[in-house]
């Protein structure tokens, strides 16, 4: 056990901070879930790429700088600490990319990863369908073999595709063997959204922004080079991705540590007014802010423990479900605390309100927290399934 950073890591943090300080865009940026905002974000993420900060832990050959996982966590801390927003490229670089690294051919890696890192291709996730939400194995979109053309014909519908209205590519599961049982006979496809036969309908989310899309497939051709992993083995490939989504990659501790820092600032700015209204109220929020600090710190330490295991060669297992429950509920609590500190103004539109609305999706997506608790009980504690 050694909980100190090496000189190299400290130097890396210093470099990252310096670069971000000098190059950060004007803040706050418009929401990434609107057409205009998306473009602003994409441009900024291209700046990141060009300076080598887009995907620090990737090999240099694909656009990264071969940083360690610890350095990636450090970069994330610095990134969020600078007040920067979540990445609109995240579903590509954090969800698809690890799967490509694990299951992709060399040709696929060379073709997909650099364009992804440089924001040329923007990827969205095609998991959910109208009848397959938490129950991912319930999908019915299908792919039919076209042997002559050396590929597959996709038909069906995907829904709740985050930023699908603005993205250029989609990764998703389609049924290739309709006879197989629920968890088999699916294949993992990589789809260019400009292919003929695709219709994208924007769907607004809770806060009114265009957060989602419905994507309709009507005889869409995809050639064999765009299958990730083996035909009919898409479930196993997808499970690797959902592990990432639930676990640390989408929600690195830095984001919550930065949110708590902002919460502390908010409290300090409002402290006088709170105390003037009532000492009890002030004391309640002081404590609540400290509770949020402890939660973010606990999450950071849990992540450090997980990363230590990964670095030692272990694969992260169902622990990712623990993380997902924890960060999603913490995110809501941080924002509820902030809105409470804002008092009677708490229901007005603000950055905190926007963040609160966003946080409400946390216990739902990437598998509801109810499903995650089942996973914890069944896989970590060994309780029987029904």
């Amino acid at each position: 056990m050694d909980l100190t950073y090496s000189d190299q890591e400290i130097q890396f943090r210093h470099e990252a901070r310096q670069w971000l300080t000098q190059n950060a865009p004007k803040l706050p940026m418009p929401p990434g879930d609107t057409r205009e905002g998306f473009d602003v974000h994409r441009a900024w993420e291209k700046v990141l790429y060009e300076a080598g900060w887009a995907v620090v832990s990737w090999p240099a050959r694909y656009g990264g700088r071969d940083a360690s996982l610890w350095e990636w966590l450090i970069f994330e801390e610095e990134y969020y600490s600078a007040g920067l927003p979540q990445r609109v490229a995240q579903n590509g670089i954090f969800l698809l990319a690890p799967t490509v690294f694990e299951f992709g051919t060399q040709e696929q890696k060379d073709r997909i990863l650099p364009r992804m890192a440089s924001t040329q291709d923007m990827w969205c996730q095609g998991w959910s369908e109208p009848n397959a939400g938490s129950d991912l194995a319930g999908i019915s979109s299908r792919a039919t073999r076209d042997e002559a053309a050396g590929g597959w014909i996709l038909d069906g519908q995907k829904t709740w595709t985050t930023r699908g209205a603005f993205c250029t590519h989609l990764f998703g599961l389609f049924r290739t063997d309709p006879q197989a049982d629920r968890h088999r006979g699916m294949t993992y496809f990589l789809v260019d959204l400009s292919s003929p036969g695709i219709t994208v309908r924007p769907v607004n989310k809770f806060d009114g922004d265009v957060g989602f899309a419905e994507v309709f497939f009507d005889g869409v051709f995809v050639d064999d080079s765009n299958i990730l992993g083996e035909v009919d083995r898409g479930w196993e490939v997808a499970m690797a991705t959902t592990g990432s989504e639930r676990g640390l990659s989408l929600r690195s501790p830095g984001r919550f540590m930065a949110a708590v820092d902002r919460l502390i600032d908010l409290y300090k700015a409002r402290q006088g007014e709170l105390a003037q209204d009532s000492l009890a109220q002030n004391s309640r929020y002081r404590r609540q802010v400290a509770e949020c600090w402890m939660k973010a710190q606990a999450y950071k330490l849990a992540t450090d423990a997980t990363v230590s295991k990964i670095v030692a060669g272990q694969k992260p297992g169902p622990e990712s479900s623990l993380n997902k429950i924890f960060w999603s509920e913490m995110d809501i609590e941080i924002h509820e605390t902030a809105l409470g500190i804002l008092g009677g103004m708490g229901h007005l539109e603000s950055e905190w309100m926007k963040g609160f609305e966003f946080s409400l999706a946390g216990p739902i997506y990437a598998g509801t927290n109810e499903i995650q608790r089942n996973i914890v009980a069944e896989r970590l504690l060994g309780l029987p399934r029904r």
Binding site: G138, F206, S278, A280, Q281, G344, G346, H347, S350, Y365
Partner: protein, 396 residues
């Protein structure tokens, strides 16, 4: 002792519920939410027809002469459809407030027969839309959509205002009185887009030409006892509004739970109805429990506030009685507001979680009910304010 509603009370509620389900549909709410209208004038008129605004006016003034219990029953229905407009303000803070002043002999004969009679009748019938402002720095609910505003400040008698209103603090305004907060501190609008907040400009105070009601309160000429009484009436108005907001929150909670129950009975995942999962059952059972235990405190407080007002009007309380019973009223109103706000918050969260992604979309109605409940929980005293008040009064 009898905690059941009378047949008349239930009929009133059911009638209103039926009218609203026809006149104020989720589609109508969505139009307002998306900015097409400020309020629904037609539905407002129908509310007037069924007597909503006259509940707290005595029969002598053309009202129904009922109490807050009935208003809270109505408020549940208004909450259930997230009705848009200053109903609480109009019913309690304008009609109810003026009526109570009149009943105590403090308002001019104007209400009954003077030149203001027609104006007052227009309020009772809902032909005019009224709202209220309690402090010069407060935003006014639906000020732009209202025909008049009752200014009801501490230490002053009520006044009627019709000034310029803004729903956008960035719009230039003629004269910013000192009392108006700087623009930077005033975000433009509630996350509940159907809840319009406006700013009244003190410099443009102008009641001539709009109504004839004479509310010139020679407050400085009143004796101390009368001044105290006028302030008490103002306080009663505030507590009445608070409690009716609690009633709306109960209705909202009920609505959001019902939506989730219906969805959970219908939606299938993992080859079973999601409502057959114990986790979903327990989420909804907890929400229902919170709602059930929040509803009774609302009516308990309403009943006791009604009794307090009755005894005040009939002069059957000593000053000590008044002080003691008023503290109990404050405690009970705060208790009701805290529980109703929490029940609505839990109902919203639970409902969203049971709906999953569909509930998180703008196209689904749920977000409109959730956002209304967030706004109402913050208005007429936050949960924190009421929690402090109930704590202070329980631990006197």
């Amino acid at each position: 002792m009898n905690f059941s509603f009378t047949r008349d009370q239930l009929d009133l509620r059911d009638t209103l519920g039926e009218v609203l389900s026809k006149e104020f549909t989720p589609e109508r709410l969505r139009e307002i939410f998306e900015g097409l209208h400020p309020i629904d004038q037609k539905a407002w008129g129908v509310l007037g027809e069924v007597g909503m605004f006259s509940l707290l006016a005595p029969q002598d003034l053309g009202g129904l002469g009922m109490g807050l219990v009935e208003v809270c029953l109505a408020a549940e229905e208004l909450g259930r459809c997230a009705f848009v407009g200053p109903v609480v303000e109009h019913t309690c803070a304008v009609v109810g407030h003026l009526s109570l002043l009149w009943s105590l002999g403090l308002a001019g004969g104007d209400l009954l027969e003077g030149p203001g009679q027609e104006d007052f009748n227009n309020l009772v019938s809902g032909t005019k839309v009224a709202t209220v402002q309690l402090r010069p720095t407060d935003p006014v609910a639906w000020g732009e959509a209202s025909d008049l505003v009752l200014l009801c400040y501490e230490g002053q008698g009520p006044r009627l205002a019709r000034g310029l209103m803004w729903d956008d603090p960035n719009r230039p305004r003629p004269s910013l009185g000192q009392a108006t907060p700087p623009v930077a501190q005033v975000p433009a609008r509630s996350v509940d887009h159907s809840y319009q907040l406006s700013w009244v400009d003190q410099g443009q105070f102008n009641r001539g030409g709009i109504i004839n009601l004479d509310l010139t309160f020679p407050i400085d000429q009143f004796d101390k006892k009368t001044k105290t009484l006028i302030e008490l009436v103002r306080q009663i108005t505030i507590e009445r509004c608070t409690l009716v907001v609690a009633g709306q929150l109960i209705g909202l909670a009920d609505k959001m739970i019902s939506m989730a129950v219906d969805y959970a009975k219908d939606r299938t995942q993992f080859q079973v109805t999601i409502g057959s999962n114990q986790a979903v059952k327990h989420h909804l059972a907890n929400s229902y429990l919170a709602l059930d235990h929040a509803r009774h405190p609302v009516y308990y407080a309403a009943f006791n506030l009604d009794r307090f007002v009755e005894d005040l009007v009939s002069h059957s309380m000593s000053d000590d009685d008044i002080a003691g019973r008023w503290d109990e009223c404050l405690r009970d109103v705060s208790f009701a507001k805290v529980y109703a706000s929490r029940a609505a918050r839990l109902a919203g969260k639970t409902s969203l979680q049971c709906h999953g992604a569909i509930g998180y979309s703008w196209e689904h109605d749920l977000h409109m009910y959730m956002k209304r409940s967030w706004a109402l929980a913050n208005l007429w005293g936050t949960v924190d304010f009421h929690l402090d008040r109930v704590t202070g009064l329980v631990l006197r």
